[in-house]
Amino acid sequence: MQVNLRHNDNVIILDIEGNLVGPNTIALKNIIDNLIRKADGAPVFLILNLERVQMMDSSGLGVIVAAYASIRRDMGRIVLLNIGGNIRSLIIMAKLVTIFDRYDTEAEALASFQNT
């Protein structure tokens, strides 16, 4: 799995490539944990671009849920971008569809942060 980190103003975009399954998820967890730690209590605004993620299991979902909880605690926000049908179905099954804001384009995702 590869993760590319970009900034757009105060929004961080993580472009993720590969399967978010099993041990692969640890790298993403470490990156998000680092971002939260560096923010030192300041809100983190994060877009997870999942366009190139074909598969995600409960470990991957767990990393994203944990990130959501930590980021919300500091009044930040995390949104999902470009999720495929399999990840959408996973989120629906896990009843997390109302928790995560999802966008189909980066412009829409970025615009959603303008009021935060």
Binding site: G22, S58, A69, L90, K95, L96
Partner: protein, 137 residues
Amino acid sequence: MGEKKQLKIFLSLPSTMQLIYLLDTVISDILKEMKFDEEVQEHVNLAVIEAGTNAIKHGNKEDTDKNATFEFLIDDEKLTIVITDEGPGFERQEVANPLDPENLLKSSGRGLFLMEACMDEVVYEAEGTIIKMVKYR
């Protein structure tokens, strides 16, 4: 009367999560060969990865001296997958429901639920050290 044909594929993995990709490769090929539609393939693939994670990580505690085994039984009607670990087992009813509001934002505990949601049948045997999952064609 013709005898029902059944193909058996057996995979035994030392208990390290680094080998979970082998399981993914094997089940992906089986599902393609059985011509399940794409959505069903994704669901069964997810259920097998979850069951493999359960056996290797939670059952065998990633002890590489212990093996997790996967038996794939293919016939005209269905795919049956039997997963076995060498761990102490568990009681299914003692595992919390991840859909309960107090569990919704927990970072773990969704594996069994997803297996059951993705397969047509999931049966726990031998105190949870054997899991039998079925998907009908």
